[in-house]
């Protein structure tokens, strides 16, 4: 979608939906898996769908049904679920400068997942102010609906789907890294950002491969931030080059 097309479009929510379509590649297979896992853990299809609609946070939902099925104390289930989601605290403040005065925004924060944040963080600054609420509503609600629909599909027909198209569940999730890559690549704008972003990607990858999936995102981002600061501190004699650009 080109910038010109967006500026002239009268229906920003439709653009939001269109631009959120790549998210489906990652959402639907994972949601189908969640529906299936929830049924196997003893939840009904309606309960699985309600968990997806109300909690709407992928990894923590898997943890929730897993721990609940294993008989863990429910207070611990809730604490662990929230701990996994703590990383979300930095998302909304990053979008805040581009949010308009509408009272709809607080309600829409329910749909601020990792993927929606990544998309919105890139797109909101590029959109005219009048289109931002519509765009976010379209993208966020579409992603939420696909998560709920995927859960229902997984709960009702997950086993059959996985048996019939085993490769689909393997291929479609690649849409997520493909989307994140497109969102990150334009940010490689200077040596400082190149090093910080490169280190973040590599450390997140390494942490995930070694099994620290839930810690990978905050830890890798912290590594990248330290690198960003270290690169700034080291070449003090070049500081004149960096002046005038907020984050270089």
């Amino acid at each position: 979608m080109s910038q010109q097309a967006i500026s002239s479009s009268p229906r920003p929510w439709l653009i939001g939906i269109r631009e959120a379509i790549p998210l489906l590649g990652g959402y639907v297979p994972v949601a189908i898996s969640f529906g299936l896992v929830a049924i196997q853990a003893g939840f009904s299809a309606q309960e699985a769908v309600l968990i997806s609609a109300l909690v709407y946070a992928g990894a923590s939902q898997f943890l929730f049904v897993g721990m609940a099925a294993a008989g863990s104390p429910l207070w611990l289930v809730v604490v662990m679920t929230l701990l996994i989601n703590v990383r979300h605290v930095v998302y909304a403040p990053n979008l805040a400068p581009w949010l308009t005065a509408s009272r709809g925004w607080p309600w829409l924060m329910h749909a601020l997942t990792d993927q929606v944040f990544a998309l919105a963080h890139t797109r909101l600054p590029q959109l005219p102010e009048a289109q931002r609420l519509g765009w976010f509503t379209g993208a966020a609600l579409f992603a939420w609906a696909s998560w709920i629909a995927g859960t229902a599909l997984g709960a009702l027909a997950g086993e059959e789907l996985m048996a019939r198209w085993p490769l689909l569940g393997e291929i479609m999730p690649f849409a997520l890294p493909a989307l994140f890559l497109v969102l990150v690549v334009p940010r490689f704008t200077s040596r400082r950002w190149n090093l910080a972003l490169g280190l973040t990607i590599l450390s997140a990858l390494a942490l995930t491969v070694t099994g620290f999936t839930n810690l990978a995102i905050p830890l890798a981002a912290a590594c990248g931030a330290l690198c960003f600061q270290a690169v700034k501190c080291r070449p003090a004699k070049h500081s004149a080059h960096t002046q005038g650009a907020r984050h270089e």
């Binding site: 990383r87 979008l95 805040a96 329910h110 890294p177 994140f180 890559l181 972003l197 450390s203």
Partner: protein, 115 residues
């Protein structure tokens, strides 16, 4: 589902919503208090740095394939290259993603036929 389980679901849902909502309200209040025309300048610098880095971290975690074998890594590498090549040409969101998934899928399907 027992009523205790329902309470746990609702507590998790409300807690997750608050984790997403309260920082937004805090930041909005801060922006209003500072009253600057350009909201980005009112944002703490660490927050502006952390945003892109969180997306980079999401990329790093999502690049790891489900099965850690040579074919999956090869498919990931080729998918990434196809994605970057189409992004370089088009500078759009949708086409690079479609090309990346197609290239990744082609390698996985070919490998399943050959191996």
């Amino acid at each position: 589902m027992s009523s205790a389980m329902w309470i746990a679901v609702i507590a998790s849902a409300v807690g997750t919503l608050l984790l997403r909502l309260l920082p937004m309200l805090w930041m909005r209040r801060r922006l209003a208090r500072l009253g600057q025309d350009d909201g980005i300048d009112a944002m703490p610098q660490w927050l502006g740095i952390l945003g892109p880095l969180m997306i980079a971290a999401l990329l790093g975690t999502s690049l790891v394939p489900k099965t850690l074998d040579a074919v999956s890594w090869l498919a990931t590498g080729i998918g990434v290259l196809a994605n970057l090549a189409i992004w370089w040409r088009t500078r759009t969101l949708g086409w690079p993603v479609a090309a990346g998934v197609a290239a990744f899928g082609a390698v996985v399907v070919l490998a399943s036929w050959v191996l």
